[in-house]
Amino acid sequence: MNKKSKLSPEERELRRLQEESEQKRKRGEHEGRNLLSELNNALDSATRVLVKGLSAHKWQSLVIPLLAIFLSLATISVVILSFGSSPLEVFRSLLAGAGWLPKVNYGGGQSQLTDLVNLATTLTPLLFGALGFVVAMRAGLFNIGIAGQMVLAGFAATVLVGYSDMSALVARPLVLLIGIAVGALAGALIGFMKYRFNIHEVVSSIMLNNIFILVVSYFIKSYYLDDVSRNARAASAEARLLTEPIQIGEVSARLPVGFLLAIIAAFILWFFLTKTKQGFEMTAVGKSPKAAEYAGIKIGRTVVSAMALSGAMGGLAGVTHYLASVPSVAPDKLAGVGFDSIAVAFLGNVHPLGAVLAATLIATLSSGAVYMSSIVGVRQEIAALITGMILLFTACGGYLRAWIDVKKRNMAESDADSSGDSSACVASKVSKRENEVAAETEVEALQSADNAELRGGDGK
């Protein structure tokens, strides 16, 4: 007090101004902090809801891919908007192009049904390939060789059956059987090399991909080349895995023979992997080879048979691709389907039934792309971009799952001492509100701080 009285009025004024600005600064800080903490609270409760919603293990495998798809569509929408097009229009036309929605108009003899049949035709090899990958993956094997198994099986079926004059009734089952047999042998070879010589399946399947396509190319170019298309000569209509044109209403369509088989195969595989002894053994080897060996499971036999089964699916993908989706076997080039199917398998959570949904989604995107491009006027690669986005976000699914687990544990931990927590929370909220007042006058601030403490104490 003494000191203060000695100060000149100017100095006193200066000090008052300083104090005022100091208070203003504090107030601003408080507001900023409040906003931040509120934002934090909002984020916190949002994550709580998300974690609670997603932590039920039963639904995680379904919800997380859906979330990934949603996020990728949201992201791609931004990209499309930046082109000045409407994302909704893009998605709608994609669906229309794939046959899920009616198009504006159709060419002669075509309808929505034609598009759906085309979708089923492209979907079939994709699904078979994905199933092949899933089986191998369940047994802990990464079968990159689907594309190689496809071309070998497709070529073998074309040469053995497609160039003969068998009737459709004999030819089509034979094509399927050859697909299974050739694919299984090609797959088993990888499994055998893994077991016998300890060659990693990724290495051997990449090398075999190259070997198969080069051998097939050599034979095509030497003996079976079609001079116009520069591909192998087309197989006979009887051998192709499309039915005779069937009249449905006004349109006629060739239905893909393999489509129903692929769907059935997915269910059979699901049953096989979860309900049978052999499926149990494959999964056990995949999860822990050491424990499987300890349990008396023959690792070598299991690995070889898992790869044979995987290869058989790859072979079916091959015959349904080369003898249905495309006109004939092309030399020098592996089918992209063989690699896309790996992505499909992952998108489908490495589950046979998940693969059905994932294959449908990816096939929709690829088969609707051309129509989408022509209607909306954006490049058809947008469809591939969507696929890529979905895969990217799906790949984040593992991270999301781990994140949820960690959050859940933390939440359980904080819930454990929530009794103490809640009262502290009340106290802090009270004091927060009081702090705003505190900035007004110092005396009041002191009092209210006391109040806050009192109230906090009451809360406890």
């Binding site: 309900k275 049978t276 052999q278 999964t283 822990s288 060996e293 300890y294 008396g296 454990a416």
Partner: protein, 517 residues
């Protein structure tokens, strides 16, 4: 410790530290004062909160409540790096060394002395680090060659490398987390010498253990933890083992569950001149012969890596023997694979319960049928019968007190180590095999689970089963064995009735010391 009259400087103070984990309070308002230059024991059973407390001091966990003071200043230790900056070091129970690096490389890792050749090109100055480490090693009597490769070193030397690592970083406070768990009696003795030596050179040591005799031998003061609570701090001079034990367990328990064998029956397992080689042709098991009889526990003692694991694997059929014979009830097993051996009467509790004994991502019921899933009632014409799996699982869950959150469908990964082990033990005993092989059956388990499993082993013996027990814990071997075989460097150095061998004698054989009387 020489008595000093002056007030000791307090190096570390822990005030009201609490740490909660879901479901348990690991540390409950712990208060400690650790003085400079003393050896301070944290004594308690498994799960008493010793390691959690040490982990908080070393920055691996953060306390939920309470404060930590170093040299009188409050500190927040958020990571081990900060702990190191505060001159705190820790030797973990499992060493953190890169096995194909040299001692020096391991020690300087993360804190490499850098120099520039010609003032430009940076390189790691191994030479000066080596010299520095050599000096440290001599000063503290550690006898470690800084140029040796870790994989060539024994367990106790590796532990000294960990100690050097702390010293290299100028640690003042050294935390030892159960440092003697993996050592032989002789190695323990020399470690305790090293620890005393460190104290005499002015270092402060926190010594975590559950072994009373070690506390009595080296420590100055001792804090006893029971279920997360600090129950007692006392000077070693003022207390005795009996008193400490009573405080530690809260009751008198008899650790030696030993029951003498009733009647030893016929020979069940015959091992004759068994030889097992590793990939390079080096003999892991070399000319080993012994018999195990019905109603007998044959315990194999030996330091880690003496060939015990390979011996068990070879008997169970997981690895192929290069020579010799293994016979079960007179039947030669050579031509039988793992499954056939299991069917003919071998149950096997493997050393690595998580990657060998169980499939962690499988539910409990499937794991409990891992050896029999292919037979009726679990499997009929290749189709699995889920009902049979869960019925069988529920029986074992009750019978063996396996605690699992979601019953038979619990994923084994979610279960605690003790319950995982109970599941394996339950599954194997349930096979009703003539021969039971236990490898390290109680490693890392808490006292309750240890007692339960030892009890089971004795029960099976009393039922007339032959038991082959392989353990690195000498106490366990001494407590349970009827006959002891000691392995050293792949050879069975000594086989004798347990009554004829003292703990020290077994310890000597474990180190390869034989006196040909």
């Amino acid at each position: 410790m020489p008595k000093k009259e002056q007030q000791h400087e307090i190096l570390l103070e822990v005030k009201g530290v609490t740490k909660r984990f879901p479901g348990i309070v690991a540390c409950d308002e712990i208060n400690l004062e650790i003085r400079k230059g003393e050896i301070y024991a944290l004594l308690g059973e498994n799960g008493a909160g010793k390691s959690t407390l040490a982990s908080m001091i070393f920055g691996l966990y953060q306390p939920d409540e309470g404060q930590i003071f170093i040299r009188g200043e409050e500190v927040q230790i958020d990571s081990p790096n900060e702990a190191v900056a505060l001159d705190i070091g820790m030797v973990h129970q499992h060493f953190k060394l890169i096995s194909n690096y040299s001692v020096t490389e391991n020690i300087i890792l993360g804190d490499e002395p850098k120099k520039r050749a010609l003032g430009i090109f940076p390189y790691v100055d191994i030479k000066s680090a080596e010299a520095h480490i050599e000096n440290l090693s001599q000063d503290y009597g550690l006898e470690v060659d800084p140029r040796a490769i870790i994989s060539d070193l024994g367990v106790s030397t590796q532990q000294r490398v960990e100690i050097l690592k702390m010293l290299y970083r100028d640690a003042e406070l050294l935390i030892f987390d159960e440092p003697t768990a993996m050592l032989t009696p002789q190695e323990i003795e020399s470690l305790l010498k090293v620890i005393k030596n460190l104290r005499d050179q002015g270092k402060t040591i926190i010594f975590i253990t559950h072994k009373l005799d070690e506390v009595m031998e080296v420590c100055d003061r001792c804090a006893i933890l029971v279920r997360g609570k600090l129950v007692d701090v006392s000077k070693i001079e003022d207390t005795n083992p009996r008193e400490m034990a009573a405080k530690m367990v809260g009751r008198d328990i008899d650790f030696s569950a030993k029951r003498p064998a009733k009647t030893v029956g016929e020979t069940v397992l015959e091992v004759q001149n068994l030889r097992v080689e590793d990939g390079t042709g080096f003999p892991r098991v070399n000319d080993v012969s012994f018999d195990v009889h019905a109603g007998e526990i044959f315990a194999v003692a030996g330091v880690s890596g003496s060939g015990q694991t390979e011996l068990a694997d070879a008997v169970a059929g997981l690895i192929k023997a290069k020579g010799g014979k293994v016979k079960l009830r007179g039947q030669d097993l050579a031509k039988l694979n793992v499954r056939k051996r299991s069917e003919s009467g071998i149950a096997y509790i493997p050393e690595d319960r998580q990657s060998v004994g169980l499939i962690l991502d499988f539910p409990l019921d499937q794991n409990l049928a891992l050896k029999s899933y292919y037979q009726a009632p679990y499997c009929k014409t290749s189709l699995l019968k889920p009902q049979a799996f869960s019925e069988h699982a529920n029986e074992l869950i009750d019978g063996f007190d396996i605690r699992c959150a979601r019953g038979a469908k619990t994923t084994v990964r979610e279960m605690s180590g003790g319950n995982q082990q109970k599941a394996i033990v339950g599954r194997e005993i349930d096979q009703d095999a003539d021969l039971l092989i236990f490898v390290q059956p109680t490693r890392g388990l808490d006292i309750g689970a240890i007692m339960a499993i030892r009890e089971r082993i004795l029960d099976e013996r009393d039922k007339g089963k032959a038991v082959l027990l392989i353990s690195l814990e000498l106490d366990e071997v001494m407590d349970l064995a009827d006959t002891i075989g000691v392995m050293y460097a792949g050879q069975m150095l000594k086989v004798a009735p347990a009554s004829e061998l003292s703990t020290n004698k077994v310890g000597e054989y474990m180190m390869g010391v034989t006196d040909d009387e």
